[in-house]
């Protein structure tokens, strides 16, 4: 599917970050292929190009494994939106975001948008068992081919909980997420009043049922539109990018020369 897309130059970049096994790849699959299927732990990274109106948005799926951690800041370079993903049944996955992943986002655009996404709510919330109305509607909206694809595959049991049908203990509440969101803003040195509010930027999703998945991506795409326009304008002004300008704080030479 994405072969074709490589030929076009994306206008804007969205990056999925988060610990391994939280469901980043599954979320992207759900959104792009409208299916929940078996995944293998991502190696390196992969991306998908989404046509959003007249724009091409590249969505990067990164690998959560420690081994590939170093690549993260390169993926985030120039990103317009970053989806920080955790697993609602796993407290550790939330704290990893703060400890390990947040610093990777230093290379993102200065006006980058951050979303906090708690995945796998189907394991803890009965309401997440059907995909939302908006989700169904958007399925109708996508090309009719989708309508012809076979009914959703019976998803393979992925955890003991879904086998037994017993709900798991939710380890991360929306309040925890909102609190982290606040800390992210502070880390970024952003003013809470002038940034997107936590209610708007914290999502709970299920890649398995599709719950809230379209809403998440669509909300983000709408929010990055201004960023696309800004970038287009900049490109018109100077077609080449001057490294001097995008030199980040990580530039050691710059640091040493100023003292």
């Amino acid at each position: 599917m994405p072969e074709l897309s490589k030929m076009k130059k994306p206008d804007v970049k969205v990056v999925l970050l988060g610990d391994m096994n939280v469901g980043k790849t599954s979320l992207l699959h759900r959104y792009t292929e409208r299916k929940f299927k078996d995944t293998i732990s991502t190696v390196g990274g992969a991306f998908f190009l989404k046509q959003w109106g007249p724009y091409n948005i590249s969505i990067w799926d990164t690998a959560g494994r420690e081994q590939f951690h170093g690549l993260g800041s390169m993926y985030c370079r120039g990103a317009a939106a970053i989806i920080l993903t955790y697993d609602v049944t796993n407290w550790q996955s939330l704290s990893e975001l703060e400890e390990r992943f947040l610093s990777l986002t230093d290379t993102a655009n200065h006006d980058c948008i951050y979303a906090l996404v708690g995945n796998k709510v189907d394991l803890t919330d009965p309401k997440a068992h059907q995909s939302q109305d908006s989700d169904v509607a958007s399925e109708d909206r996508t090309d009719s081919e989708d309508m012809r694809t076979e009914p959703q595959l019976p998803t393979p049991p992925t955890s003991p909980a879904s086998l037994s049908g017993v709900m798991l203990q939710k380890q991360v509440t929306p309040e925890d997420a909102a609190a982290l969101y606040g800390r992210i803003l502070r880390y970024k040195g952003l003013d809470e009043t002038s940034s997107q509010p936590a209610e708007k930027m914290c999502f709970e999703t299920s890649a398995k049922t599709g719950y809230n998945v379209d809403s998440l991506f669509e909300a983000l795409f709408d929010l990055v539109l201004p960023s696309i326009l800004r970038q287009r304008n900049e490109n018109q002004e100077s077609p080449t990018v001057d490294l001097e300008e995008c030199r980040g704080s990580s530039n050691k030479r710059a640091k040493s020369s100023c003292c």
């Binding site: 390196g44 990067w60 170093g70 995008c246 030199r247």
Partner: protein, 872 residues
């Protein structure tokens, strides 16, 4: 799914290189056109000529011929070799020294007088393949030295090297690649991009170069391929952004190269080939003891320690066909397009078109019509390839044969759909829309007949509304093929249109008539009859009109006659001769009547014939209505009104003829009276009106009508006549009538007193009438005669005074002469005078006689003012 993209072909066998010396290892290679250079661990450079040979089986192989070998004299392995072909130099790294060697003789180049040709303490170097400086006679080189944390930029000339720049790095660099101003470096713990011109740097990602050998490979403009943790091949551009997803190598990868669209990597025992397009592993070749993999101008060369191989890409077409065979359309296309640079332009275009067409058919087979259409369009597909998939659509006369080798695997649509009717329908709908789009574009050039005929067939079969539009506009449908098809689908109306388009109007009409007559079933037009009438109406073929008008008139005379009455007046249409039409309409009385009405009332024909004919027809209609029983009074009234109106208003019909027909008819007295009136036989008319009909208002109206365009005297005469008729006939009529003519006479006088000559009236009136009875009449008469008397007295007086005035003038003028010369102009016409006879206007102004005469004739009022006097 894997692809066979490459084949490993031996280039330099072990024997050729080292014979039986077992300890010799290949350390580095360089290839420059046909020239292959090998550096060995015993400090030799070997120079081979590498020729491509195609075997009888069509396989590629290489034959290597050893030209020269040379000992460099340093006893150390030759670590790196790079050709600078424009300078005819090899840049050699050996024993941490970079120096230059002649490409042909392999002699070391001595230092020039101006500067050294050696760099010492070098660990690695790279050549800038995309230098900003465009000097073709020097080569830019990035050099890493063992001691300092720097990268040095040198310019290499024929006989010297020159340091042009030195930049510091935060850590010891151990691998380098160069593009433009951008250095891509592997440092001890990370990769980075460094702009040697501005000094700006960009960290890429951490990598422990101590643990694993880093790879820094320039793969294109400002893009590099790097070995990343976990055996990844990461792409990074000069901005430090990854624009392609990484490929997944093994941990032990030694070196890598890009041969678009593939990433080729070498590890201890395998060559792996990933596609850059989808990051998938496409092919794995086992390769033992490999330790060098490099690409030279698109050619990938590998070496084990003892032998050299070329990784030959399989013919692109075969790779593409393999991909298409497994329906990997996008991959096939990207592969094709990626190859554009490597294939001559015209050959590429043919290939590209064909692949696009094949891709289109694959997508067509999967019902992905949008994509298919786009590919057909881009591939400039001969539409007939597509049409020919649909059985029976191409006309029998078409000369088309499918291209060979075939563009797809389908015999026809049924084969493709495997009996799935819905699929068939989808495909047909697609073809309809596709042909509709292309038929007026250059795509249809040279096969318009085939396209239009196919479209017609589809429209007919699918009951598509555009069938009629197609036939009503310019089209190239083949008649012979279309007729049976349209008949089959009962599109008789459409068939008629097709006949018409092909100039066979008669056939068209016959077809339509059969539909209207119910012989054939086609509900396309519920107003087909009107359509036929319209059609005939504007037909330029008179024979056709005469031939089919009869049918139309029989079917519906009122509408049928429109053929003649609604015929547009235009240059392109010949006029119909009304006489012919009338003859033709002969027995269709109704239609004839309508046609005559059209001639007389609408077109205001001035021919007596038509007026008479129409009047006679009106009359006949009235008579026939009158003879019916029971009578339809309302209809009779209407018919008579029409007759009467015509009799009254037309002056052209033959009164005698009509009178002859009315002579014995006592029911149509009013009409007879009108006719008498037309003959100015007013007494007869009034007699009928007054005595037979006793219709006094009509009698009065008659007088007004009959005199309406005449002078007062005429009217007076008529009114007197009426009065006489009233008075004379008094005794003849019975007393019990509706009205008494005598009373009518009184009313007449009192109402129209001004018309009468009162004196004559008084003489005529019976003695016994009371004054009171005639009071209004008499009042008016007396007043009128008084008024006339006084007016004339005034006029008389005025005339007298004018006469006097003129006499006075005349006397005055007589005294002086009036000069008339050829130079003087007449005041009225401004021409000069040519004879002495003139007329003098009051005041002595001379004018021509004829001018005055004219003036007097034209303005009677002025005649009284201009009293002329002859004067000589």
């Amino acid at each position: 799914m894997s692809v066979k993209a490459f084949e490993l072909v031996p280039a330099v066998e072990r024997d050729l290189l080292m014979g039986d010396k077992a300890r010799i290892n290949i350390e580095c290679i360089e290839c420059c056109g046909k020239h292959l250079y090998l550096g060995t661990n015993d400090c030799f450079i070997h120079h081979f000529l590498l020729d491509e040979v195609t075997t009888s089986k069509g396989k590629l192989s290489y034959s290597a011929q050893k030209l020269l070998h040379k000992y460099l004299g340093l006893k150390k392995p030759v670590a790196e070799l790079r050709a600078a072909s424009a300078l005819e130099r090899l840049i050699v790294l050996c024993d941490a020294i970079v120096f230059l060697v002649d490409m042909v003789t392999l002699e070391t180049v001595p230092s020039a007088a101006g500067g050294g040709a050696k760099i010492r303490g070098v660990t690695a170097f790279c050549i800038n393949e995309n230098p900003v400086n465009g000097d073709p006679f020097c080569v830019e080189m990035g050099v890493l030295s063992s001691k300092r944390r720097t990268v040095q930029i040198y310019m290499v000339y024929e006989d010297r090297v020159q340091l042009v720049k030195e930049v510091n790095t935060p850590e010891q660099p151990c691998a380098v690649s160069l593009d433009g101003y951008f250095l891509c470096l592997a440092l001890a713990t990370q990769y980075m991009i460094l702009n040697y011109n501005t000094g700006a740097s960009q960290d890429l990602f951490p990598y422990s170069s101590e643990e694993r050998k880093p790879i820094v490979k320039r793969i294109g403009r400002e893009e590099f391929l790097l070995a990343a943790p976990g055996g990844l091949g990461m792409f990074a551009n000069a901005e430090g952004v990854s624009q392609r997803a990484p490929v997944n190598w093994s941990e032990s990868v030694i070196s890598a190269a890009v041969c678009f669209p593939y990433v080729v990597a070498l590890d201890e025992s395998f060559i792996t080939i990933h596609s850059m397009l989808d990051q998938q592993l496409k092919q794995t070749l086992s390769f033992r003891d490999g330790h060098i993999l490099q690409d030279f101008e698109g050619k990938v060369i590998l070496a084990s320690t003892k032998a050299v191989y070329v990784l030959v890409p399989l013919p692109l077409e075969r790779q593409i066909q393999d991909l298409l065979a497994s329906h990997r359309v996008e991959e096939a296309l990207i592969l094709t397009e990626g190859a554009q640079r490597n294939i001559p332009k015209d050959k590429f275009q043919i290939l590209h078109k064909r692949i696009l067409q094949q891709a289109g058919f694959i997508q067509f087979g999967q019902l992905q019509f949008l994509e298919a259409k786009e590919h057909f369009r881009k591939g400039q597909l001969d539409v007939r390839e597509l049409i020919s998939l649909y059985p029976l659509l191409l006309p029998a006369s078409s000369s088309f044969t499918r291209c060979h080798p075939p563009l797809h695997e389908f015999a026809d649509l049924n084969h493709l759909a495997q009996g799935d009717q819905e699929k068939v329908l989808h495909c047909k709908k697609f073809l309809i829309s596709y042909l509709g789009e292309v038929r007026s574009t250059e795509v249809a050039n040279g096969c318009r007949e085939d396209v239009d005929t196919a479209l017609l067939k589809l429209y007919a079969e699918q009951d598509h509304e555009s069938l009629l539009d197609l036939l009503a506009s310019d089209n190239s449908c083949v008649l012979a093929d279309s007729v049976p098809w349209l008949e089959k689908y009962h599109k008789f109306f459409a068939l008629g249109l097709l006949y018409h388009y092909n100039g066979q109007d008669s056939a068209a009409l016959q077809m339509w008539i059969r539909v209207v007559d119910g012989e054939l079933q086609d509900s396309t037009r519920s107003d087909l009859f009107e359509y036929i009438v319209d059609f005939l109406c504007s037909s330029s073929n008179l024979d056709l009109i005469w031939k089919y008008a009869d049918w139309a008139l029989r079917k519906d005379p009122t509408k049928g006659v429109h053929i003649f009455t609604k015929r547009p007046q235009s240059k392109h249409l010949s006029e119909l001769n009304p006489d012919d039409v009338i003859t033709h309409l002969g027995k269709h009385t109704m239609a004839l009547l309508l046609y005559l009405e059209h001639l007389v009332l609408e077109r205001k024909s001035q021919k007596e014939k038509f007026h008479t004919h129409l009047a006679v027809l009106y009359l006949e209609r009235v008579l026939s209505l009158l003879s019916e029983s029971p009578r339809d009074e309302e209809q009779i009234t209407r018919a008579r009104e029409r007759l009467q109106a015509l009799l009254r208003e037309s002056n052209l019909y033959s009164v005698q003829v009509l009178l002859g027909k009315l002579e014995n008819c006592e029911q149509l007295l009013l009409e007879r009276a009108t006719l008498h009136g037309k003959l100015e036989e007013h007494d007869k008319a009034l007699h009928i009106l007054v005595h037979k009909l006793r219709d006094f208002p009509s009698a009065e109206a008659f007088c007004i009508w009959a005199s309406c365009s005449r002078d007062c005297a005429y009217r007076q005469r008529l009114f007197h006549l009426l009065l006489e008729v009233y008075l004379k006939g008094n005794h003849t009529s019975a007393g019990g009538g509706v009205g008494d003519p005598e009373m009518a006479a009184v009313d007449l006088l009192n109402r129209h007193g001004e018309v009468f000559d009162a004196v004559r009236v008084l003489r005529m009136l019976p003695e016994g009438w009371s004054l009171q009875l005639l009071r209004p009449f008499l009042d008016r008469s007396v007043r009128a005669s008084m008024h006339a008397c006084r007016t004339s007295q005034i006029a008389l007086g005025l005339s007298h005074s004018e006469n006097l005035q003129l006499l006075h003038d005349r006397l005055k003028e007589r005294k002086k002469p009036i000069y008339v010369s050829e130079k003087k102009g007449c005041h009225l016409c401004h021409n000069t005078f040519s004879e002495p006879d003139v007329v003098c206007l009051p005041g002595g102004v001379p004018v021509h006689k004829h001018c005055v005469a004219q003036r007097v004739r034209d303005s009677p009022t002025k005649s009284q003012l201009t009293n002329s006097s002859n004067h000589t």
